[in-house]
């Protein structure tokens, strides 16, 4: 107790002085008040004096998305992930609570659904992504929670309903079928976490031998980083979880409890039906329409998904230098996680403030992202990696990235939301 107090006293005394604010009249529009938009707004307010900062987002609720996996495993209530968008916004920024409907990167304006036109000197696009449930035939969101269907990505209530369906499976057993989409996606570890958590809970509830876990994915490996994929493959083996690689979910027949997958075998495509008692659906994910229709997307990459064409290191648009992309919508490999946002935000802040001062920014984003890959209720692997698929552990020699550890679980359970909230406020 005494040590803590002494440490804090030292901390307060050692607070570094903040650099003087940059005076400017720049008009900065931020599309999206999610993790990225909110964090950058808070940081820019600290750095700039006199800038006109406007956030455009119609969503009233802020979702702490890393918590959805916990809600969908019955470990947290749905309220755990919910707050109000306005809870996190600093004084001195304007929130236009409307959807951005059009972006004109040549005239430098953003049009809103309500008909407002906002002119900008700098634009930060951080609207997140859209879940394309329509791409899965026979599926609709109102099915979630009933007849053994779950989809934790759809939001707090749906994550809670997902647990209702999954819980029934963990008590009665049967076949659980876990899917993931072909497109880029938010937190590529989440489909695995859900599979691991439900397996673990089922093993403690209905008991081994009474259930099967099947994991179907369009990719040919279980994780984008090869060394992690191998570790996950071993864990699947140890726990008797079956994989169906190169299987893409196409349709669901809830009446017969069958899911149809497109199976790829070399150049051969065929349809495969798999039965389920519990099905977890993660739909294809794409950039919002407003991005895809405004000439901001890559022309030669991810053409079916429309992620923003930007420099991997600076997040700056390659054709419109006054535009930056942040978060899920950015067209960079990996990086659709809150951890990526945490690392991207200071880089964009650096380049944007430098541009206002007429200088060049120096900060570089190396693709860092992190995934506390939960493997059981009580254990996780703290996996951190970059663009090059290198593991970049924060605590080398102390917290091993490929070991299932209690401390990594404690971080996810206790420290992650606090760190996330501190990030939203621009303080971490």
């Amino acid at each position: 107790m005494g040590l803590g107090a002494a440490g804090l006293a030292a901390a307060v005394a050692g607070t570094p002085a903040r650099a003087a604010k940059v005076a400017t009249k720049a008009r900065i529009v931020i599309i999206g008040a999610g993790a990225a938009g909110t964090a950058i707004a808070n940081r820019l307010v600290e750095r700039l004096d006199g800038a006109e900062i406007t956030l455009v987002d119609a969503r009233k609720e802020h979702i702490y998305q890393p918590g959805l996996s916990l809600v969908a495993a019955g470990l947290k209530p749905s309220g755990y992930v919910l707050s109000q968008t306005t809870d996190w916004l600093p004084a001195g920024v304007k929130l236009v609570a409307e959807r951005a409907a059009a972006i004109d990167p040549v005239a430098k304006t953003v049009g809103t659904e309500g008909g407002q036109t906002l002119a900008y000197d700098y634009l930060i696009v951080a609207p997140g992504l859209v879940l394309d449930y329509e791409a899965i035939e026979g599926f609709s969101l109102d099915m979630v929670g009933q007849n053994g269907i779950g989809s934790l990505y759809a939001g707090a209530d749906y994550a809670a309903k997902t647990w209702a369906a999954a819980q029934k499976f963990t008590e009665e057993g049967g076949v659980a079928l876990m899917s993931r989409p072909e497109t880029e996606m938010k937190c590529a570890g989440a489909p695995l976490k859900h599979a691991f958590l439900i397996e673990d809970i089922a093993s403690r509830t209905v008991g081994k031998g009474k259930y099967e876990i099947h994991y179907a994915a369009p990719q040919s490996s279980l994780f984008g980083v090869p060394i992690v994929a191998e570790k996950v493959r071993m864990l699947f083996g140890e726990r008797g979880m079956t994989t169906h690689m190169q299987h893409t979910l196409k349709s669901v027949d809830p009446g017969r409890k069958l899911a149809t997958f497109e199976k790829k075998d070399g150049d051969m495509l065929s349809l495969v039906e798999l039965p389920y008692d519990y099905l977890h659906v993660i739909p294809p994910q794409r950039a919002p329409e407003v991005i895809r229709e405004s000439d901001l997307s890559w022309g030669d990459k991810w053409v079916d998904q429309g992620w923003v064409e930007c420099d991997q290191q600076t997040m700056r648009h390659l054709r419109y230098p006054e535009i930056f992309a942040l978060g899920d919508v950015a067209g960079v490999p990996k990086g659709k996680t809150a951890a990526s946002v945490k690392w991207q935000v200071p880089v964009v802040e650096d380049h944007l403030v430098a541009a206002i001062e007429g200088k060049e920014g120096t900060a570089v984003y190396d693709g860092y992202t992190s995934c506390p890959l939960i493997t059981r209720v009580g254990r996780a692997m703290l996996i951190e990696f970059d663009y090059k698929n290198n593991l970049v552990p924060s605590f080398p020699g102390i917290i091993a990235p490929l070991e299932e550890l209690w401390i990594s679980w404690l971080m996810k359970e206790v420290a992650l939301k606090a760190t996330y909230n501190a990030m939203l406020r621009g303080k971490a």
């Binding site: 005494g2 009580g378 404690l410 420290a415 501190a422």
Partner: protein, 117 residues
């Protein structure tokens, strides 16, 4: 973590417990520490009798701290996965033990006074 400064750490702790509760806890910890130092200076000696009670309370503090952490994080002893986990577990236990011992010693000194040895 990119830059794990004390400032970041404080921000994280404030978010974890809420700003009010966190600083209240810091204040309580500081207060107990000051009270402990006060009774040591006042009495000019460790009372072995009070210290015995403090020592006897230590295992309870250790067990309570571990169960508390496990309780709020839906985990248990089966989740210990590597050396660092054992260290964390022992660290939590040690903090609980020492914290309760100091509290018990200080409380006895304050309540029973200097002469009640």
């Amino acid at each position: 973590m990119k830059e794990l400064t004390l400032q970041t750490l404080i921000a994280v702790f404030e978010e974890m417990f809420g700003r009010g509760l966190f600083w209240a806890m810091v204040a309580v910890a500081a207060l107990v520490t000051v009270a402990y130092l006060y009774v040591l200076v006042r009495d000019r000696a460790m009372s072995m009798r009070k210290f015995l009670w403090a020592q006897l309370s230590m295992p309870f503090g250790a067990v309570a701290a571990v169960l508390f952490v496990q309780g709020i994080t839906s985990s248990g002893f089966r989740d210990i996965g590597g050396p660092i986990d054992v260290i964390v577990l022992l660290g939590v236990a040690a903090m609980g033990a020492v914290g309760l011992a100091i509290l018990v010693y200080t409380a006895q000194s304050l309540i029973r006074g200097k002469s009640a040895d």
